[in-house]
């Protein structure tokens, strides 16, 4: 949405629109003019590309009108510049080169955006409309990304068939240190805090810390735009399903000495409703706050301080809380879940989760001579998680699981040009994690207390030769883990374990620009991932999915080879096709193996699952195509297919997304007086049945395929120079009753029914 001021000049009569804006785009550090920088006049269909001298010229602009320019250049973060025209004007725009990231097969948060440049403020628009949802749900609009859900309030992203420990999440450049190992632990990030969501699907994500097997989700905040005065926006979203209110405020001010931005979000959602019944106890609360300060010192030193607080309370469907296998079996066959209330409620009772996450980031970038720069960053995080169960004698007030995870992250990066048209990047990254369980639970912890230390060094070289672009990288890291576990036998005592892992990773990539605008990218990578603490040491009953899960301290590292091939055709602005194919082999793939034995406890016998290793092959295809018939009509199609084979056991991996297909038709309305940029969009999505699992791999066969319809209306209302954005998004339009394979509560309840999100935005 419209980050700003706008087109109210259209309303004014007799205005002269013959002015000219000229300017030059230069590199901030070197003052060199930048060729091929794009200058877009936001809210207008005007744009220019700079020539060899970095200069541009835009004509027919109106006087006394404030224009917002979005300036982007390959390897730079896009910038927003505001210009107030009184006469012909000349400006100089400084661009800060971050890094060349062309090598990544990057798909941005907007599914029909084909730019290879990372970052485009357009994406903020889509994020804002649906920020009452979880971050992961937003990501799922990207082809090749699905979500693993635990009911309606908790979801985590699955990228190319992998999730949890195998996906890295970078929150503002800092690897998210939450309890990511848990399938019912969602990323602890406010969706509103993101100005841009990027999923790096290739294997070239070597520069990003964390232990991913290739894919990385990046949640980025934009730089504070260089505009005079105080600006910001107010957002409010009402959702009919769950009668949810989400409010958000963002304020920022740019001053050369100090720029600041403050964001805050409050969410209050009650019980969701499936077509036939309320999903009792599925309410959600969220309170988030973030502060960003930017300062440039001595022209060469840029410093950014960022703090964010995320806090949430999420209810878990009461009927999904089961004691043992008998309970699970009796819950499975029901027409509506146990404990379903006839009345809507905002209250959240156990089982529920409370999560608080603090992030403090200090980023320093120091520009040296000759286009070189040095970056020193620190990220500190505290993750506090409490899970409450239905317990006896008032103990529901005490969490059944309570953990605090501290982390410190240091990063030193160095960047310099090398050869002709080449770049060298060197980085060092160190991270420390400290997890402590709180004994007030009165229950032996599921995962033990531990500390882990890791250090990594990497080097990346990038070079363009004519239409070719190559990159090569290598990363080495060590990880040490000290574990303090409580014995499972009596007398209880502390057992000490330690682990040491040496990881290596390599990647090589190439990109070729065909003459006619086509582009191909190939990426090959090898990487290792050490087992996580849950895979090594978890022990306990898993709520919701009756089974005892056991870690194995003898697990070795996963070793993965991944090849990604992408191709893009674009025919002027009328149509484009983008296809990404990938194939990944993982040796020693860690998974939960059913042991076909039962552990007898006082609550009955439970099946036992142990973390084991196998060899896996995951491969698939993501495709999207869009066709602009003319200014008014746009048709887009996206499809993704993933297969995950357990080569050793000859069956399929669990939680592999089913094939899915989405089609959208968008009709852009002509501007009508106060109503501008209005559109109607109809969306249809078909998710196939996941039919590649054996019957003995799950308690229930995966649910049948389903088709969902959606309708979206959006418009900008301009009244007296003030701009409002109104957006209505109706999901599951036909109130279809269905269950999804990737929702771990599919045994108990249907998915949510029809929902309408009404989002209002006021920008100032």
């Amino acid at each position: 949405m419209v980050l700003g001021l706008a087109l109210w000049h259209v309303e004014l009569v007799g205005q002269s629109c013959l002015y000219r804006l000229t300017g030059q785009v230069v590199d901030q550090a070197s003052r060199q003019p930048l060729e091929f920088a794009t200058i877009m006049v936001m809210d207008e269909d005007l744009g220019e590309v700079t020539g060899q001298d970095g200069r541009f010229e835009i004509n027919n602009l109106c006087s006394s009108h404030s224009y917002r320019l979005q300036v982007s250049h390959i390897g730079c973060e896009p910038q927003l510049v505001e210009v107030l025209l009184h006469s012909d004007t000349t400006i100089v725009i400084e661009m800060e080169h971050t890094s060349y990231k062309l090598e990544d097969v990057v798909v941005q948060g907007k599914s029909n955006d084909y730019s290879t440049e990372i970052g485009s403020n357009i994406q903020k628009e889509d994020i804002v409309h649906s920020s009452n949802e979880n971050l992961s749900d937003l990501l799922s609009t990207i082809e090749g990304v699905s979500v693993l859900k635990s009911g309606s309030g908790i979801s985590k992203p699955i990228v190319h068939g992998l999730f949890g420990n195998r996906i890295g999440i970078l929150n503002n450049g800092i690897p998210q240190a939450g309890q990511q190992w848990g399938n019912d632990h969602a990323p602890e990030i406010d969706a509103f805090s993101a100005d841009e969501l990027t999923v790096v699907k290739g294997s070239s994500a070597l520069a990003y810390a964390g232990t991913s097997l290739g894919s990385v989700v990046k949640v980025n905040m934009s730089k504070i735009s260089q505009r005079e005065g105080i600006h910001g926006q107010l957002n409010y979203i009402f959702q009919t399903n769950g009668l949810g209110h989400t409010g958000n405020i963002e304020i920022e001010e740019y001053k050369p000495q100090l720029a600041w931005r403050l964001k805050s979000t409050i969410k209050h959602i009650g019980d969701r409703k499936s077509p036939d019944y309320y999903l009792t106890n599925t309410g959600q609360r969220e309170k988030n706050l973030s502060l960003q300060l930017e300062k440039t010192m001595f022209d060469h030193w840029q410093s950014t301080l960022y703090y964010s607080l995320f806090s949430t309370e999420t209810g878990i469907l009461r009927g999904a809380h089961v004691g043992n296998l008998t309970d699970l079996e009796s819950a499975i066959g029901r027409s509506e879940p146990y404990f379903t209330s006839d009345e809507f409620s905002y209250s959240i009772a156990p089982p529920r989760q409370e999560v608080v996450h603090h992030l403090l980031k200090w980023q320093n970038k120091y520009f040296l001579k000759d286009n070189r720069w040095l970056e020193v960053n620190y990220g500190g995080q505290i993750n506090s998680r409490k899970e409450f169960d239905v317990r006896r004698s008032g103990r529901s007030e005490f969490p059944a699981m309570r953990m605090k995870l501290w982390s410190h992250y240091f990063e030193q990066l160095y960047h310099q040009p090398i050869w002709k048209d080449g770049e060298l990047k060197i980085g060092l990254q160190e991270m420390m994690l400290d997890n402590t369980n709180h004994p007030e639970t009165g229950i032996l912890p599921l995962i033990p207390d531990y500390r882990s230390y890791s250090g990594a060094g990497y080097a990346l070289i990038e070079k363009s030769i004519n239409q070719w672009f190559f990159d090569f990288g290598s990363r080495w890291s060590v990880k040490k883990m000290d574990v303090q576990a409580i014995s499972r036998t009596l007398p209880r005592e502390i057992e000490y374990f330690d682990h040491f892992f040496l990881q290596s990773a390599f990647s090589v990539g190439g990109r070729y620009h065909w003459m006619d605008g086509q582009e191909s990218k190939l990426n090959l990578g090898f990487m290792k991932r050490p087992p996580e603490v849950n895979e090594l040491y978890s022990f306990g009953l898993h709520q919701g999915v009756s089974g005892i899960e056991m870690g194995d301290p003898n697990l070795s590292m996963e070793e993965s080879w991944k090849a990604t091939l992408g191709h893009r055709w674009q025919q002027s602005s009328s149509w484009s096709i983008n296809v990404v194919g990938y194939s990944q082999w993982v040796k020693n793939f860690i998974y939960l193996q059913p042991l076909n034995e039962y552990e007898l406890t006082i609550r009955g016998a439970f099946p036992v699952f142990e973390y084991s290793q196998t060899n896996a092959h995951i491969y698939g295809l993501d495709a999207d195509a869009s066709w602009h018939l003319n200014t008014y009509h746009t048709v887009a199609l996206t499809a993704s297919i993933v297969r995950g084979d357990d080569i050793q056991n000859g069956n399929s991996l669990v939680y592999i997304p089913a094939d899915n297909l989405t089609a959208t038709y968008r009709y852009q309305l002509a501007d009508h007086r106060r109503w501008q940029k209005s559109y109607i969009e109809i969306k249809g999505q078909y998710v196939f049945e996941q039919n590649r699992l054996d019957l003995d791999q799950d308690y229930l066969p995966p649910p049948p395929g389903y088709f969902l319809m959606g309708l979206e209306l959006g418009s900008n209302l301009v009244i007296g120079g003030q701009r409002f954005n109104i957006h209505l998004d109706i999901q599951n339009l036909t109130n279809t009753k269905y269950r999804d394979y990737l929702n771990r509560q599919r045994y108990y309840a249907d998915e949510v029914g029809i929902n309408a999100n009404l989002s209002l935005q006021y920008s100032f």
């Binding site: 229950i443 912890p445 006082i602």
Partner: protein, 185 residues
């Protein structure tokens, strides 16, 4: 290259972690844990029989110990259930916790394998619904089979047949599900 080397000290500073010894975890007081279920059957005309299920270290660790018993045929017994947490010293009485929240708990008894044993509730909560801590057990002909005792937390006691001991409609979560081998001679 020399310039890069000059930058190295800056990079290495970050490597120096201030790290002190991490404290040992505090072993939680597992007061909610139920380790022991004892079902005692007393009769005027027969010796007292005690069925016991004991799993001192909770889930995992060592396997539970189960004591079976022999009942006399065609006899009426008075049954009582006691629950405790014997992993603590002194052991913790869980039965009283159930009594305090008797409206939220109910025991269910199921027999199979042709065992001729019927168990009826002999106690009530404040709403007049059964609990199952006190029961009347009546044996019939000789035989052997399984007796499964289940404790449900937050069952729907008002649901069809639940107050008569029908577990199928009860719902709630299972806190206890133990099976004893019963022989009637």
């Amino acid at each position: 290259m020399i310039q890069i080397l000059r930058l190295l000290p800056v990079m290495i500073i970050g490597l120096l972690f201030v790290s002190c010894e991490k404290d040992d975890p505090i072993i939680p007081n597992e007061e909610e844990l139920i380790t022991t279920v004892v079902y005692t059957l007393v009769s005027d005309s027969a010796p007292t029989v005690t069925f016991e299920f004991k799993d001192l270290d909770g889930d995992g660790g060592n396997a539970p110990m189960i004591t079976s018993g022999i009942l006399q045929a065609n006899t009426e017994y008075t049954g009582s259930l006691t629950l405790s947490n014997d992993s603590e010293d002194p052991s913790e009485d869980i039965t009283s916790e159930i009594t305090e929240e008797d409206d939220e708990h109910q025991f269910f008894f199921a027999v199979d394998g042709g065992l001729d044993l019927s168990i009826d509730y002999d106690d009530q909560d404040g709403d007049g619904n059964p609990i199952g801590l006190k029961t009347k057990a009546t044996t019939g002909q000789a035989g052997t089979g399984n007796l499964t005792v289940t404790l449900r937390h937050e069952p729907t006691k008002s649901a069809d047949g639940v107050s008569d001991g029908l577990i199928a409609n009860a719902g709630g979560e299972t806190d206890i599900e133990v099976t004893f081998i019963v022989t009637i001679e």
